[in-house]
Symmetry: C2
Subunit: 494 residues, 2 copies
Amino acid sequence: MAKELKNLTKRSENYSQWYNELVVKADLAEQSAVRGCMVIKPYGYAIWEKMQQTLDRMFKATGVQNAYFPLLIPKSFLCREAEHVEGFAKECAVVTHYRLKNDPDGKGVVVDPAARLEEELIVRPTSETIIWGTYKNWIHSWRDLPVLCNQWANVMRWEMRTRMFLRTAEFLWQEGHCAHATAEESEARTVQMINLYADFAEKYMAMPVIQGVKTESERFAGALNTYTIEAMMQDGKALQSGTSHNLGQNFAKAFDVTFVNKENKPELVWANSWGVSTRLMGALIMTHSDDNGLVLPPHLAPIQVVIVPIYKDADGLKAISEKVLPLVEELKAKGISVKFDDADNKRPGFKFADYELKGVPVRLALGQRDLENGTVELMRRDTLEKETVAFEGIAGHIEVLLEDIQNNLFTKAKNFRDSMIFKVDTYEEFKEQIEKGGFILAHWDGTPETEEQIKAETKATIRCIPLEGGDETPGVDMITGKPSPRRVIFARSY
Amino acid sequence: MAKELKNLTKRSENYSQWYNELVVKADLAEQSAVRGCMVIKPYGYAIWEKMQQTLDRMFKATGVQNAYFPLLIPKSFLCREAEHVEGFAKECAVVTHYRLKNDPDGKGVVVDPAARLEEELIVRPTSETIIWGTYKNWIHSWRDLPVLCNQWANVMRWEMRTRMFLRTAEFLWQEGHCAHATAEESEARTVQMINLYADFAEKYMAMPVIQGVKTESERFAGALNTYTIEAMMQDGKALQSGTSHNLGQNFAKAFDVTFVNKENKPELVWANSWGVSTRLMGALIMTHSDDNGLVLPPHLAPIQVVIVPIYKDADGLKAISEKVLPLVEELKAKGISVKFDDADNKRPGFKFADYELKGVPVRLALGQRDLENGTVELMRRDTLEKETVAFEGIAGHIEVLLEDIQNNLFTKAKNFRDSMIFKVDTYEEFKEQIEKGGFILAHWDGTPETEEQIKAETKATIRCIPLEGGDETPGVDMITGKPSPRRVIFARSY
């Protein structure tokens, strides 16, 4: 029974298939009837909610407020910022009509040709344009600045090849949009938010990330500068996990947003935007999970502790419940989310496999003999280690253990990531290493041509110019031999 | 200054204009560049977030889990349930293309005719169809039931006449969709959720509601039965504030969702759905607010207490701050949200008017003389009463006061509502009374024809057949003279 439940492809056999199966088998998400769009199932959504709540609290602590802007954007808005439309307008869902009517020739409904919109509306791929169109009404004086808004929303980009969480036509995200009086303040906020994302990734997702700057060709459409956090998945590929863009005055220019400064002179407003999405779910899964299923860091696990009773009859369950229910209350009082699974239509073995698959960090099992001995069996999901411990004082033990698991997952992921960073000096070496995966620290001459050549020949892109932890010694480009001020990070990526 | 800030139309002059102005002036929302769609501004969104958090907690306490389903629905899905498509498909945003391209004849972008979708996609007006299309994969055995899912989402209905919060093309809402093994269980859940909404309206929004059942012509498209909560606004009009629909087996039939019961026989699944939306913001505003601006019940106010210092110079502010900051901490420790507004670019008079306009329940003002006397000036927004009280023990005083304001708002709204319920026996009386507003308890013969005649002649609709608190004495229809088992509630409505 337990084996059938899992029957999960091994990572070493086919990493990509392992991921796709795990997403479905762990009840995180599934394909929908709509091309490229997924259904996020309750267990997957519960993890996303924990991410949202944490990030939302972190944003608000920096003075950010939430707001909501329209889903549909007039086509003309997208065209206002020239680079932006190049980057986004091409792959969008377009609303052209606002009514259906009964099909005069048969059953069902057809688009009503009389209800054609004068101007087409685009389902937002990102909201800079509609938001800066709105900020024009909000910002008049230096007293109105800064504006620090965030929006939790759905967005759509018509991707040709989709994968659940990693790249879907519709996805959920947050997008922050700030307006400032000075370039310095806007740059400081841009950096503050990428730091916040790195903090979240490391402290909550237990996922080490490298912070850096994108090259011009990898920048957000319309940005002066894009900061990124890059994580490494277990197959050695990079996953861009969050970005923060310094937009300069581009959107203020495009939407004519000016303010009167303290000297009573009009100035253009400075902008930044920053976002993370349900893609983080993919990153979380691929950073920690194993061939037995999902592995969740305790800080984001919807169920942190599951308790499975092992009993023969109703009396046996009653005796165990009497012992367990006070523990459940004690754990809840400590802010630990706990589930006592006394469902009698599933066997303990099935439950064990199911909670393993779902990545619950700590499992307790309690039978008749444990009652007699004053013990409980405890398993930690990260190492799969089982031990029999005293029931007395178990709540305090679990509290410590959860932090230990959280730290252990981070350390394990960091050790793996660090072992997969390679310094390479020749293109031959580069081509050999890239096949094995990892972050490659190499010299680059700074030209888009060399970047493009490497991408075409090896499928590796420059993930970022690292802010710290890189190698700042100058050198020469491995292909052109031209000077390079410092190494950048190359990798294949999701 | 203070007067300019407000300059709000009086309710008695023009209620509708008062509402529209208040929404904008209190910084709740504004019209966007997209027809019929609003921007929810940070202050308005903060109130909506409080509603969301409270409802979400209440839903989860009944076993409901959140999930997320696609924004776009294939056109053919809408047609599966015949009544449903009649009710919804006509007024929808239709996505017909998935790409734009550079305009070959000029600037900007145009729809790429090569990127026409084979099947049009509809921006969801509600999600029964896509969700029941998904439940087919989730439900096989009685062990899979019940399924209790909720979704927080945006939806679109192409309304011709829109008003902020009350009726907008795009709005935010939650929609719960439950699947059950028996008709009884599904009906019990339908009733449970309308009770939950009534509870939320009364305990958090301080808004009395009447629970009842909709007549056939006012039912949700595809439902066997629709339960509603109806509130009364200050102009005597009704506002439908939440609905819960018993959908019977209609959607299970349409999407072929069956389960194997305990006797190993296939059966169709039973469904219900229930929702409230950002329309509740309109209800909240119109229930309590006055000619000075918004009045918020403390349970939903983003800022419950504001403290305004009155000082001449930096030393004066410092002395006040030293006194106030420990109080701020004390209030926060009690779970009270408090703002100490020491901004020096606005005068106290301006701040007073602004917080009045924004409905902050309690305002404290503290000047030099208060410091000397150990006092503080306290104003409660509901009655606008000011008093000077001892600073000592003020936190405890405020805690009690907030509950008092909450209760007072409910009582005031309930007394008003109760004073506006009229029992009427003749159509002449009815026509006279309906011009003055209110809920009219009248006899109705139960036919859609009479209902339609009354609507056409008086613009009044049957808001509901009340579940309790109505009058269950039989009588005769005021127009046709045919027998009526009990009185129903008529009103003009939003």
